[in-house]
C-alpha cells in the first residue's frame, strides 16, 4: 500500500473515532494554522499608517501558497460576532523573511470591516483566509520603464509591487486629498531620496482632481511606459480612454476595487439563478411566496420564521427581514430565511 493510501485509511479510522465530528474539529482546537486545516491566519500586529489606515501583519496558516506582487487576498473577519469577507491587496513583498503577509486597510465611512481592522483588531485574533488571487501583477520580463498611477488606497497593490521588485526607471503619480493622507508616505520619500523612484503627489484638496491630460506635463514619456493604475472608477475610466485614444491601451493595466454599493430599496427583480427564473417582487411579499408563485421549488417549513427550514443562499443584492426591517446584503456564504425576507432591491436567490 502506498503511503497516501495508508494515510487515507488512517484518516478514515480516525473519523470513526470522532464521529459525528471530524478529526479536524478537534485538531482545530490546538492547531488552527496547521497544514491541512482550512486556511486561516493570525493577526500578529496592527501598525497605523495614517489617521485612517493601518497595516495588518498576518501569520498565514501552513496551507498558504504565497502571492504574486499586486494580488489581493480575501479575508473573513468576525465583526460583532458576524463573519464578514472582504478583499484587500497584499502589501508585503513576496520574499518576506518571516513568511508573514501584510494588508493595508483604509477605514472607509460606515465600512464595518475596514473600521474594525483599523481601529479595533487585536493581535492574536484568528481570521479566515483565501489564497491570494488577481491578475493585476507584474510580467515575468522586466519592462524598461514603469508608471504607477494610483489614488487613495489604490496605492496598496502597487506598494506590494514596489517593495517586491526594483525597476531601473519608475515613476509614480499618486493622488490623495492631503499630504498626511498619503499612505506609506515616508517609505515613498525614502525611495525617492535613494533615487529608486520619481514621485508626483497630487493633493486633490488643493490641486483638484487629477486631469488625465496633465500626464503629458507630469510624465512626458507616459505612453512609452508599462503602466499599472489603481484607484477610483473615475480615474481608471479616464485612463483607459486616454490610453486607448493614443493607441497604447495594451500598456495599461488596471485594478478596480469593486465597490459593494447595494442600494436597499423596496422590492426589485428577483432572479432564481438555479432555475433561471426572473420575476418582479414587491417589498412586502416573502421571497418564499415569490419563488413558489414563479414555480420554483422552494424548501419550506413553518413559514413564520421559526424553523429555519427555508434557508437559501443569497447570491447577490439585498433583502429585508420583514419582522425587524434589517437589511441583509449578499456576501459569499450568506443564507437567508426566505419566508420572512422580502426583496430590498434586485437580488439573486440560489434556487
Amino acid at each position: 500500500m502506498t503511503s497516501a493510501a495508508l494515510r487515507s485509511r488512517a484518516w478514515k479510522l480516525l473519523e470513526m473515532v470522532t464521529t459525528p465530528l471530524l478529526p479536524s474539529d478537534y485538531l482545530d482546537l490546538v492547531s488552527p494554522l496547521r497544514a491541512g486545516a482550512d486556511l486561516r491566519g493570525r493577526i500578529e500586529a496592527v501598525h497605523p499608517e495614517t489617521g485612517s489606515a493601518a497595516t495588518i501583519v498576518i501569520r498565514p496558516g501552513r496551507g498558504w501558497r504565497g502571492h504574486t506582487a499586486g494580488q489581493y487576498v480575501r479575508i473573513g473577519v468576525d465583526v460583532d460576532g458576524v463573519r464578514l469577507w472582504r478583499a484587500y491587496s497584499v502589501t508585503s513583498p513576496t520574499n518576506r523573511q518571516d513568511g508573514r503577509v501584510t494588508i493595508t486597510v483604509k477605514a472607509i465611512p460606515d465600512g464595518k470591516v475596514s473600521n474594525h481592522l483599523v481601529r479595533r483588531a487585536k493581535p492574536g485574533t484568528l481570521i479566515q483566509l483565501d489564497q491570494a488571487t488577481g491578475d493585476f501583477v507584474l510580467p515575468q520580463a522586466k519592462p524598461a520603464k514603469v508608471l504607477y498611477l494610483t489614488a487613495g488606497s489604490g496605492i496598496t497593490p502597487v506598494m506590494g509591487m514596489l517593495r517586491d521588485i526594483e525597476f531601473d526607471d519608475v515613476v509614480m503619480v499618486h493622488c490623495a486629498p492631503q499630504p498626511q493622507d498619503v499612505i506609506f508616505r515616508n517609505e515613498l520619500h525614502d525611495l525617492v531620496a535613494d533615487k529608486k523612484l520619481r514621485l508626483t503627489e497630487v493633493h486633490t484638496d488643493t490641486d483638484g482632481m487629477l486631469d488625465i491630460a496633465r500626464l503629458d506635463e507630469l510624465v512626458p514619456d507616459w505612453a512609452e511606459r508599462e503602466t499599472w493604475a489603481c484607484g477610483p472608477a473615475g480615474l481608471l475610466d479616464a485612463a483607459e480612454e486616454h490610453w486607448t485614444e493614443h493607441g497604447v491601451r495594451e500598456r495599461l493595466h488596471t485594478e478596480r476595487f469593486r465597490p459593494s454599493i447595494v442600494v436597499a430599496g423596496d422590492g426589485g427583480e428577483v432572479t432564481f439563478s438555479t432555475t433561471g427564473k426572473t420575476v418582479d417582487a414587491d417589498g412586502a411579499t416573502p421571497l418564499l411566496d415569490v419563488g413558489e408563485e414563479a414555480g420554483v421549488l422552494m424548501p419550506s417549513g413553518c413559514r413564520m420564521g421559526i424553523c429555519f427550514g427555508c434557508v437559501t443562499p443569497l447570491k447577490a443584492g439585498a433583502v429585508r427581514d420583514l419582522r425587524t426591517g434589517e437589511i441583509t446584503e449578499a456576501e459569499p456564504g450568506v443564507l437567508i430565511q426566505t419566508c420572512v425576507s422580502a426583496a430590498a432591491g434586485p437580488c439573486d436567490i440560489e434556487r
Partner: protein, 372 residues
C-alpha cells in the same frame, strides 16, 4: 383542554398587544446580539470537545474504578452538552447569524442517532409550529401515551408508565423512530415509499456510526479496559438519555400546561400563536448550572416564544416575559426539577387509567382525539 380556558379573560385586542410586546422583546435582543454571544457559543463548543477528549482518554484506563467513575461522569456531561446547549440550539438556527459555516443549522451534526436534518423537520417545524396541538404535535406523548383527560382511553395505555420509562432509557432511539414517523410508516403500503426508505437508510447509517464509535472502536482502543469502557459508554448514553427525557418532559407535560384542539389554530394570529406557546410550555427553576445543563430548555417558555434567539439570552428574556404573564394574568408554570419531573410522571400514571367521561364533548372533537 381543561374545562376552564385560562385565557378567556383576554380580549382579541389584548392578545395582539401581547404579541407586539413580545416582538419588542425579541427585537431588543436581536439588536444587541454580537461579539459576546459569539464568544459564548465558541467557548461552550470548545469546552465540550475538550471534556469529551479528556473523558475518553481517562476511560482508556477505566479498568481502574476511579478512572471509570471520572471518565463516565465526564463523558455523560459532554454528551449532555453536545445534545442540549450545543446541538439543539444550533439546529434551531440560534447561531446562524454568525455566518460561521461550522456553527450553522445547515451543517451541524450531533452525537445522536437521529440525523440532524430529520430532527430539524419534526422538531423545529412540526413541534414548534404546532406546539401542543393534539393530532399535530407528536411530541405530545410521542404517539405512545395519553396526555389529556379528553383523549380516549385504551387498555394499551395501562402500560404507559413502562413505555415512558423505556423511552427515557433509549430516548435517542425513540426520537429517531419518532422523526421517521415509524408507527405510521411501517404500514405495508408506506414501507416501500422511496422517500421513507431513504430516510430510514440515513438513520441506519447514523446508528451504525454511533454504535461503532461508542461500543466497538473506543472499547477496542482501551485494550484491557475493553469491557469497562463499553460499560462506561453505555452508562453515559443512559444518563444522557434519561436526563434529556426528563428535561423535555418538564417542558410540556407538567400539570397546568394546556393542550389545544386542532380546530383552535385555524387562522391563528401572531398574538394567538404566541399565547399558545405561553400556555403550552413550562419552565424549570434553578441555578445557572441547572439552566446550562438543560441547554436552557429550563426556559422552555421563552424558548418556545423565541426559538431562534441565542440560548444564553433566555435568562434575561425570562424576566420580561414573566412580567408579561403577570400583566395579562396568566399562569407561568415553573418549578424546581424534582417537582416538575414528579408532576409530569404523575400525569403519565394518572392518565394510564381511564377517567370519567370528559365534560365537554363534541362529535368533531371526539373524532380528532381518535385520530390523535
Amino acid at each position: 383542554m381543561t374545562a376552564i380556558d385560562p385565557t378567556a379573560h383576554l380580549t382579541a385586542e389584548q392578545i395582539e398587544e401581547l404579541g407586539r410586546e413580545l416582538d419588542a422583546i425579541r427585537d431588543e435582543v436581536i439588536a444587541d446580539r454580537g461579539e459576546k454571544d459569539a464568544a459564548y457559543i465558541r467557548k461552550v463548543i470548545s469546552a465540550q470537545r475538550k471534556l469529551e477528549l479528556v473523558s475518553r482518554g481517562v476511560l482508556l484506563f477505566s479498568i481502574f474504578p476511579p478512572a471509570w467513575l471520572i471518565g463516565t461522569a465526564g463523558l455523560s456531561v459532554a454528551k449532555i452538552m453536545d445534545n442540549m446547549e450545543i446541538g439543539h440550539n444550533i439546529l434551531h438556527g440560534q447561531w446562524d447569524w454568525m455566518r460561521d459555516p461550522k456553527i450553522h443549522s445547515t451543517t451541524w451534526e450531533w452525537d445522536h442517532v437521529s440525523p440532524a436534518d430529520q430532527w430539524k423537520h419534526s422538531h423545529n417545524e412540526l413541534h414548534h409550529t404546532y406546539t401542543n396541538v393534539i393530532g399535530k404535535d407528536n411530541d405530545l406523548g410521542y404517539g405512545i401515551m395519553r396526555v389529556d383527560e379528553d383523549q380516549r382511553w385504551h387498555p394499551f395505555h395501562l402500560g404507559q408508565p413502562l413505555w415512558n420509562f423505556i423511552n427515557a432509557c433509549f430516548f435517542e432511539y425513540g426520537i429517531a423512530a419518532y422523526d421517521l414517523e415509524l408507527g405510521k410508516n411501517l404500514h405495508k403500503r408506506r414501507r416501500k415509499n422511496p422517500e421513507f426508505r431513504a430516510r430510514a437508510r440515513a438513520v441506519g447509517r447514523k446508528i451504525r456510526k454511533q454504535v461503532l464509535k461508542d461500543y466497538v472502536i473506543h472499547p477496542l482502543l482501551s485494550g484491557p479496559s475493553f469491557l469497562t469502557t463499553l460499560a462506561a459508554t453505555f452508562t453515559a448514553n443512559l444518563v444522557r438519555n434519561i436526563w434529556t427525557h426528563s428535561v423535555i418532559m418538564c417542558g410540556h407535560f407538567p400539570e397546568g400546561v394546556q393542550v389545544f384542539e386542532r380546530r383552535s389554530i385555524k387562522g391563528e394570529t401572531r398574538g394567538q400563536w404566541y399565547l399558545r406557546q405561553m400556555m403550552g410550555s413550562a419552565n424549570i427553576s434553578g441555578s445557572k448550572a441547572m439552566h446550562f445543563m438543560t441547554g436552557n430548555l429550563s426556559h422552555q417558555i421563552e424558548h418556545h416564544l423565541f426559538p431562534d434567539l441565542p440560548s444564553n439570552r433566555y435568562a434575561e428574556v425570562a424576566v420580561k416575559v414573566r412580567a408579561l404573564f403577570e400583566k395579562y394574568e396568566l399562569e407561568y408554570v415553573t418549578g424546581p426539577l424534582p417537582k416538575q419531573v414528579f408532576s409530569a410522571w404523575h400525569k403519565v400514571f394518572r392518565l394510564s387509567l381511564p377517567n370519567k367521561k370528559p365534560k365537554v364533548n363534541t362529535p368533531d372533537r371526539e373524532q380528532e382525539l381518535v385520530a390523535a
